[in-house]
């Protein structure tokens, strides 16, 4: 068989006929076309994914607001006129807000109707008003026009996510509420403004008061811990294994293990974190410190493998030249090899960090999949991270959380792009050609 082929190849004459040439060119053109089609398909899918996220998520960046004329009655807020912050904090702001709504619709009566009427504005309105009064107590005993957030259902109605044309019993907003809202709109008392709350507050069960700041801070804290642990340890391991370690059975064993660890499912690291950091070292649950430790363990193998590959790609001539002019092995590595390998190491680190940024599974075990309102302020405060926030919102029944889920994904992507950008810039700065 092989003889036959060899025989034919030996005796075959080059075919310069037009037909044959055309065939070859066609094959080449087809091959290029396949490549282009693959890229177009990949880009198309990416565009579809991003497009659908942006389409559903962009409306979360605006919020419907309702203007009410609020009479800040001293008797309700500060009856003794002391301006004591503790008294101001306890004022009956709910009643003031409710009175302001009733003033718009004086003819509404009956418990049920009034309850529906009060639901036009967010339940957080009393806290909004409290903050306004606390920052400027001089407003007491005046009447102010204040923009309050509408409730999430009204907001969804205004954005068209709750349809008006279905039977009343089939939607979250009653006909009466639609009537009131339309009247307010006709009076220019409604507007859609930029949703700052989404970027300045923590999680909430009320969609209109929910924000991603808690998750962004939690992610930052967690990734800082991950980076300052995995980067130095990873680079040192890679340098030692690649440049100094003797090649024997032990180093082979270590290498095999590191390669295996890189492929271990992340939930396993979560279980390890639960057993070691929480149960043995008794570190606090839900803390970014523990999350960072767990993610650092997960990222380490990636950093080490990428680091070793980068070190290997430094030409041996560099090492030989350095050693030849009398540099010690340490000087060779730290002055010549490591700086040249740094761009590659950084790429590996950023891949590892990007994976850590998107993880939820290991964090479940150590209590970071939790409802946390307060913004974390230290590495041991209870915190959650962006992907967990996305996961929790995706699971919430309220319709207004649908757009917020997509918006949180956009924030997560922005975070990722920022991280990548930092890595690209660093790499540019460090890159050297030889």
């Amino acid at each position: 068989m092989t003889d036959f082929i060899a025989d034919r190849a030996a005796t075959r004459k080059p075919d310069f006929s037009n037909a044959h040439l055309r065939k070859r060119y066609r094959a080449e053109a087809r091959f290029k076309l396949y490549g282009i089609a693959a890229i177009v398909a990949a880009l198309g899918m990416l565009a579809f994914l991003l497009g659908s996220i942006v389409m559903t998520g962009s409306s979360a960046f605006t919020q419907t607001e309702i203007a009410l004329d609020v009479t800040l009655d001293r008797a309700q807020i500060d009856p003794n006129g002391t301006l004591d912050p503790e008294v101001l904090a306890k004022g009956n702001y709910r009643k003031i807000v409710r009175d302001a709504i009733r003033a718009q619709f004086p003819d509404v009566s009956g418990r049920r109707d009034l309850r529906e009427l009060y639901r036009l504005v967010s339940t957080g309105s009393d806290f909004t008003l409290r903050q306004i009064v606390e920052t400027d107590p001089g407003l007491i005993d005046t009447t102010q026009t204040i923009w309050f957030k509408s409730s999430a259902d009204i907001d969804q109605l205004n954005k068209g996510a709750i349809p008006r044309d279905v039977v009343e019993s089939d939607r979250r907003v009653s006909d009466a509420q639609i009537g009131w809202f339309d009247k307010l709109s006709a009076d220019d008392r409604t507007r859609r403004s930029f949703n700052t709350t989404f970027f300045t507050s923590g999680d909430s069960r009320e969609p209109e008061q929910a924000g991603v700041l808690g998750a962004v801070v939690g992610t930052t804290l967690t990734l800082v811990v991950t980076l300052i642990l995995s980067f130095p340890i990873g680079v040192m391991s890679a340098v030692y294994l690649e440049e100094f370690a003797p090649k024997n059975r032990w180093t082979d064993l270590i290498e095999v293990n590191i390669n295996n660890l890189a492929a271990v499912p992340s939930i396993v690291f979560g279980l390890l974190g639960l057993a070691v950091f929480l149960n043995f070292f008794e570190l606090p649950r839900s803390a970014p410190l523990v999350g960072g430790l767990v993610l650092a363990l997960m990222t380490l193998p990636t950093v080490i493998i990428a680091g070793r590959a980068a070190l290997q790609s430094v030409p041996p001539s560099i090492r030989e030249a350095a050693l030849g002019v009398g540099a010690s092995p340490l000087q060779t590595v730290s002055h010549h090899v490591l700086p040249l390998a740094m761009p590659g190491i950084l790429t590996g680190t950023i891949i590892g960090m990007a994976r850590a940024l998107g993880e939820t599974a290991p964090l479940l075990m150590i209590g970071m999949v939790a409802f946390i309102v307060d913004i974390p302020r230290s590495f041991t405060d209870a915190a959650t991270v962006l992907p967990v926030q996305v996961f929790l919102w995706a699971d919430a029944p309220e319709r207004a959380f649908v757009e917020r889920t997509s918006a949180a994904i956009m924030v997560l992507l922005a975070f990722l792009i920022l991280m990548n950008l930092a890595a690209v810039l660093l790499r540019r700065k460090l890159e050297r050609r030889w």
């Binding site: 008794e282 649950r285 209590g367 999949v369 590495f379 699971d395 029944p397």
Partner: protein
């Protein structure tokens, strides 16, 4: 660069030392079904009191019990949520670790079988639910792999349409409750089932030939899939039907529609009780537990006009609620 790294390392060490300080935040674990209510109370509590907002984790009922019963002290949670009553084994594990418990029943949750508005109206009995979804059903005096392909195979009055039901996976508490109440309930009334060994746990096996599709823990996903496929039915919690009443409709089960009033009155058959459990040893040690329980059991929260109703909770009847509030606020110990 070096100094920066050192500073950061120092910051971490300080953080670790800080962890040894006393915890001033209530920690709650447990059921994902009670999670929306617990978090709503936690948020309200954090805003309206001087205590910090409790941290609520969604670990599932079983996982929550395990954490809750693991011991007394700051490293262990103060409360756990449950979408079923605490089991005797769990109670014993708690007692062994020196934990005294107060049980609080919060309300009810209905499990609905629903389809898209454009699909057919359907009225099922528990028996028909069992015949549609069980792995094995009795036929001709012996157990056979479920042969029903169409709803009309079960009963000619049902639509001639392929059986296609999206439901939660076995890890979910909703699934547990569904098989326990609906499947077991249907099994009990089915003639000749008991003789063939179909009783209690044996009724829980759900068919795996494609008619029942495990759609993941996320109920929103089931809602979206139902919208896209009017022939499919979905199984999920009542609050998702309530929020999506413009897109979905619930099937009548044993002659009762899945409606707020019917579930509250106990007429709708597929409903379950929701609970939370308080660790008495932590009361007075971790600040705010007593106040949190009081907030949860106030009329403003769980009453018929309370904010939890807006989140989908179905309240206890008035008398039961008043008694439960008293019992909860007095931290009455649980015995089993």
């Amino acid at each position: 660069m070096k100094i920066k790294t050192l500073t950061l390392a120092a910051a971490i060490t300080v953080g670790m030392v800080g962890a040894a300080e006393a915890r001033d935040q209530i920690r709650i674990v447990g059921s994902s079904t009670v999670f929306p209510f617990s978090t709503a109370v936690a948020e309200q509590f954090g805003k309206s009191s001087s205590f910090s907002t409790p941290v609520v984790e969604s670990t599932g009922t079983g996982g929550g019990m395990k954490l809750f019963c693991s011991g007394v002290g700051e490293d262990h949670p103060d409360m756990t949520n449950a979408s079923r009553r605490m089991k005797k084994s769990e109670f014993e594990a708690c007692t062994k670790n020196g934990i005294d418990i107060t049980e609080v029943q919060v309300g009810f949750d209905g499990i609905v079988i629903a389809n898209a508005k454009s699909g057919p109206d359907i009225s099922l009995s528990l028996e028909q639910v069992f015949l549609a979804l069980a792995a094995e059903i009795p036929q001709g005096g012996k157990l056979v792999a479920n042969p029903n392909k169409m709803w009309s195979d079960i009963d000619p009055s049902l639509p001639a349409q392929k059986i296609e039901v999206l439901g939660p996976p076995p890890t979910s508490g909703t699934r547990d409750a569904f098989v326990e109440i609906a499947m077991e309930g249907g099994c009990k009334t089915l003639a000749g089932a008991k003789e063939l060994g179909l009783a209690n746990k044996a009724c829980h096996a759900v068919r795996e030939d494609g008619a029942f599709i495990e759609a993941g823990e996320n109920d929103n996903l089931i809602v979206q899939k139902l919208e896209a496929n009017p022939n499919a039915f979905g199984i999920f919690g009542f609050s998702f039907l309530d929020q999506n009443a413009d897109k979905l409709k619930g099937a009548t089960v044993d002659g009762t529609m899945p409606e707020f009033e019917e579930i509250a009155a106990g007429n709708y058959p597929v409903s379950r009780s929701l609970f939370f459990y308080v660790k008495q040893q932590h009361v007075g040690v971790i600040p705010g537990i007593k106040e949190f329980v009081t907030e949860f059991t106030s009329e403003n929260a769980w009453g018929p006009d309370g904010y939890l109703i807006g989140k989908g909770l179905i309240p206890l009847p008035d008398a039961a609620r008043a008694a439960m509030a008293k019992q909860a606020q007095g931290l009455q110990p649980l015995s089993m």
